[in-house]
């Protein structure tokens, strides 16, 4: 799978190239774990939903981080690099149907839009969560700054959006499993190790990682945005 980097023989190029920098990978798997926990915490007896709410705030932090990282992060994480027009998506789809899709080091043109869809729907679920109540004793951080009607509508959306999210996640996981185990491109391994076997890629390779300082900066801004934003809006950021 992942051949070790040989440093002694400087003449032979390494067998793998960087595809995803560490902050991108941490954000992706953190998001996967936290979204899983959001469902678990709702259905496994966290009566007061305190855990669910903290978990949801953590999801918002990761989302804001990922959006910032899409602007200033590593090359394969940047939206400007992986979002392509409908023509590119269409020709990728056609190539895939023919069974010979080009390899991409980062997201392929279809996958790139799937990333946006996932981030958007997770974001919508988390944002409506901020205004959600169970009509009994649980009132999320921003319920006290909106009218009862808005609160009721947001609560209803919070219950209507997650089935769409589950559908998208099913597609996401199925597509990645198919690519990794039926196709010739092990995307899952790449998202874990950060590296892909050297090869011919349709996009630029190798990836250039974003700097650690910038990642820390994005994280600080993300935390400040979520908790500061709730506090500024007049809510209680600590459920």
């Amino acid at each position: 799978m992942d051949a070790p980097l040989s440093r002694s023989a400087a003449t032979t190029p390494p067998a793998t190239v960087l595809a995803w920098d560490l902050p991108t990978r941490i954000a992706k798997w953190l998001l996967a774990v936290l979204v899983g926990l959001a469902f678990a915490s709702r259905y496994c007896g966290d009566g007061a939903l305190v855990w669910h709410q903290w978990n949801g705030l953590a999801i918002l932090v990761v989302l804001v981080f990922r959006v910032l990282w899409g602007l200033v992060g590593g090359s394969t994480a940047r939206f400007s690099r992986f979002l392509r027009g409908p023509g590119a998506v269409l020709s990728y789809g056609v190539a895939m149907l023919r069974g010979r899709p080009p390899h991409f080091l980062g997201h392929n043109p279809a996958g790139g839009w799937m990333v946006i869809a996932l981030l958007g729907v997770v974001g919508a679920q988390a944002l409506t969560g901020l205004f959600t109540t169970d009509d009994i004793a649980v009132y999320a951080p921003l319920t006290n700054v909106v009218s009862d009607e808005t609160m009721a509508r947001a609560s209803a959306w919070h219950q209507q959006i997650y089935p769409i999210l589950l559908l998208l996640l099913g597609l996401h996981v199925a597509a990645n499993l198919a690519h990794s185990f039926l196709g010739s491109d092990n995307l899952i391994a790449a998202m874990i190790t950060g590296r892909k076997p050297r090869g011919t890629f349709a996009d630029r390779d190798p990836a250039t990682p974003g700097s650690v300082a910038r990642a820390v900066g994005c994280l600080v801004v993300a935390i400040a945005t979520v908790f500061g934003g709730i506090a500024l809006a007049g809510g209680n950021p600590f459920p």
């Binding site: 169970d134 009509d135 009994i136 004793a137 009132y139 009721a152 209803a156 459920p239």
Partner: protein, 145 residues
């Protein structure tokens, strides 16, 4: 003949109108009592989590509202009031005994808790069990609008 028909038609439509009005009336009444549940419970929820300081009087008045409204709510779900602007599920009338039983249990729990809750410790021990019935009932008998 024609007059009799007209009188009959007017009578029938008046009857239908009152039936519709009575139905929307019943729905409005039960929703108002439920909203009162909500208003009484919200501050107590804050006390449970420790966000707002414990206030025995507020807890007791919430429990009084529970016992009073739970009794008043039972007749407000008559057969046929499941249509229109309501979040009541048809399952209420399929399992009417179970539904009414939840209100009875809720009223009884609230009355018992009213006597048993004397300080913050007993409040934190007893109150969550009382309001668990809200969720139990909503999960099976209230539409997720």
């Amino acid at each position: 003949m024609r007059l009799r028909l007209a009188v009959f038609a007017a009578f029938a439509s008046a009857l239908a109108a009152t039936a519709v009005m009575a139905q929307s009336d019943v729905i409005a009444q039960r929703e108002a009592l439920m909203k009162e549940f909500g208003r009484a419970t919200r501050p107590v929820g804050g006390m449970l989590r420790g966000g707002t300081p414990f206030d025995l009087a507020a807890v007791q008045s919430a429990l009084d509202v529970y016992a009073r409204n739970a009794k008043a709510l039972v007749p407000l779900f008559p057969e046929g009031s499941g249509g229109g602007e309501t979040e009541a599920l048809p399952s209420i009338w399929q399992k009417k005994a179970e539904f009414d039983g939840l209100f009875d249990k809720f009223a009884a729990d609230a009355t018992a808790a009213r006597a048993a809750i004397t300080d913050e410790a007993s409040f934190k021990a007893i109150f969550p069990g009382v309001i668990r019935t809200c969720g139990t009932c909503h999960d099976s008998f209230r539409k997720k609008s």
